[in-house]
């Protein structure tokens, strides 16, 4: 609740600043996150972040409010991901073709006020990676996938990411609290990778981008999870030896406790 109040306060301050500087278009859109840090601990089962904002331009403009559309994109740190397709080989199903997508977001969620296609021209959507069909999925040069099958791989990739909850498209999920104040929720599933996420908000007027904001959301393991993970990554020998000692001790202890008479 305190976070909500703080965020609302932030939005209101932004509103004041926005009205004070009519000419500065970057102030037309102000956004805030319910939290700029997501901590992963042993009881982490996913969470959600709330994004608040104020689009003062809508009230200032003489045009219809319907002309304005919003899109909010949350992206996780980049990954290289290989998509494979199975085929039958000697009667057995094995992975045959593979396509490697480079520098694709590890997490991607888009929320919008309308259907993605109605917000702007597809070139604009492609440029800002707004919508699941508009993410930049660059492939590596080496690939054994036929050109005609490339779209199948793209679709399969996005579908598999959607199934794990790491990619999502939530059209018309941005709700307006007042004429200019809006809010949306982005669920973060339990399997989200750690790292710095970007939250980008775009305001369109009749298909034209009029304002945008960007925020950073940190997702990090803390406490025991962080110590364990960092030990495993940075001191793998120590981690391995520790695991062995722990295992031998547990086994030995059990042998002693349950000793047969």
């Amino acid at each position: 609740m305190i976070r909500f109040l703080l965020a609302s306060l932030f939005v209101l301050t932004g509103l004041v600043a926005g009205t004070a500087q009519e000419e500065d278009h970057s102030k037309d859109l102000v956004t805030a996150l319910s939290s700029d840090m997501v901590s992963i601990q042993s009881n982490f089962t996913g969470t959600e972040i709330v994004i608040f904002g104020q689009a003062s331009h809508i009230a200032d403009s003489s045009g219809e409010a319907d002309d304005f559309q919003l899109a909010i994109v949350v992206e996780g740190p980049p990954q290289d991901i290989t998509t494979r397709r199975k085929g039958r080989f000697l009667g057995v199903w094995v992975n045959r073709e593979a396509e490697r997508f480079q520098n694709v977001p590890s997490f991607y969620a888009v929320a919008s006020t309308a259907d993605i296609g109605q917000i702007a021209h597809r070139n604009v959507l492609d440029e800002y990676s707004i919508g699941l069909n508009h993410i930049n999925l660059a492939v590596s040069g080496v690939s054994n996938v036929a050109l005609s099958d490339r779209d199948d791989f793209r679709r399969a990739f996005v579908r598999l990411r959607e199934e794990t909850g790491l990619y999502s498209e939530r059209e018309t999920s941005i709700e307006f609290l007042t004429d200019t104040m809006f809010r949306t929720k982005i669920p973060l599933p339990a399997n989200i990778p750690v790292g710095d996420y970007t939250v980008k908000s775009y305001l369109f007027n009749q298909g034209e981008l009029v304002s945008e904001t960007q925020q950073i959301l940190a997702v990090a393991k803390i406490g025991f999870e962080q110590v364990t993970f960092e030990l495993a990554q940075n001191y793998p020998l120590v981690y391995g030896v520790l695991a062995v000692i722990l295992a031998i001790f547990t086994g030995w202890l059990a042998g002693v406790i349950f000793k047969k008479d």
Binding site: G87, W93, Y239, I248, T250
Partner: protein
């Protein structure tokens, strides 16, 4: 209760994992096996990434064999010299295993190799055990006396050079088959996430003719240290040993094993072997079905670089 696994990076129901460890521990106590070949597939089928399952079960096998080694150590039923030579081969095999594991993972054929190996080895060993146990049961029913092993019996293995005397096992054999056996089991154990006792024990008995009272202790001792090496290699190479998952499995496993061992004393040896044979064949069959049926989803994805690797 959901618990987040720091290395696998997914939450799991801790009671389900604990129960799995317990159930497999029960079976391992019942049959006198490590149970890795049951636990690894169980984890994979329940959604833990195969790499994490395999690496973590090697750690769990360390715990379950350590518990049994204590007992055999007290009974002095371990041939340390034989175990050390097997172990030397085992560590080498395990190292090769981790390297190949990494290569297979990067070319996307790890799951296939794991499945094919399970089908092949479980099918073969399970089949042999089934035939042997059915014969033994029939023999017992018909009242015929089991044919005793002739002490002087030799096979081609006993003709190899570099012979060494193993006093406790009353053996005089070449080190070549001993090192090779250790290496093969260490290699398979590392790739498949199994201790390999169910392969090691028959091999020691039928190929090297190690006396039965020494076999299990020696095999367990060798498995304990080969799997300890495999855990360290996996921790350094694939970085997929999940200590939280391992600990949950271990505790479930050692408790289950005590109940299994008690129940095992009430069953006859040949009946136990028949049940174990069916279990081994069942797991092998499950993998075979997955390879032969059209998969639900032809596509799969694997993260190669960047966040979460």
């Amino acid at each position: 209760m959901q618990l987040y696994l720091p290395i696998a990076e997914i939450p799991v129901n801790i009671f389900v994992i604990f129960a799995m460890g317990g159930a497999v521990g029960f079976l391992s106590g019942l049959f006198g096996i490590g149970g890795g070949f049951l636990l690894t597939p169980l984890l994979i089928f329940s959604g833990i990434p195969p790499a994490v399952s395999v690496a973590t079960v090697t750690t769990q096998v360390v715990a379950s064999s350590a518990s049994a080694v204590v007992t055999y150590w007290r009974r002095k039923a371990i041939d340390l010299k034989l175990a050390s030579i097997l172990l030397a081969g085992g560590v080498f095999g395990s190292l090769i295993g981790v390297i190949l594991f990494d290569v297979l993972q990067s070319v996307g054929q790890l799951d296939l190799v794991i499945s094919l190996s399970y089908v092949t080895f479980l099918g073969a060993i399970g089949g042999l055990m089934l035939v042997e146990s059915v014969r033994a049961i029939r023999r017992r029913k018909s009242g015929a006396a089991p044919s005793a092993r002739k002490p002087g019996q030799h096979n081609w293995i006993h003709g190899l050079p570099l012979k060494v005397r193993f006093r406790q096992s009353k053996l005089y054999v070449s080190v070549i088959p001993v090192v090779a056996l250790g290496a093969i089991i260490g290699f398979l154990g590392t790739i498949l996430g199994i201790g390999g006792g169910f392969m090691m024990v028959p091999a020691l008995i039928y190929l090297l003719r190690v006396p039965t009272n020494i076999v299990i202790g020696t095999s367990l001792f060798q498995i304990l240290f080969t799997m300890a090496a495999a855990t360290i290699f996996h921790a350094m190479g694939t970085k997929t040993v999940d200590i939280v998952l391992a600990m949950t499995l271990m505790i479930g496993g050692v408790i289950g094993a005590q109940f299994g061992a008690r129940m095992g004393q009430n069953l006859r040896g040949d009946q136990l072997r028949l049940l174990l044979a069916l279990l081994v064949l069942g797991v092998g069959l499950r993998f075979a079905v997955d390879l032969l049926l059209i998969p639900d989803d032809l596509y799969s994805i694997a993260i190669r670089k960047g966040a979460g690797v």
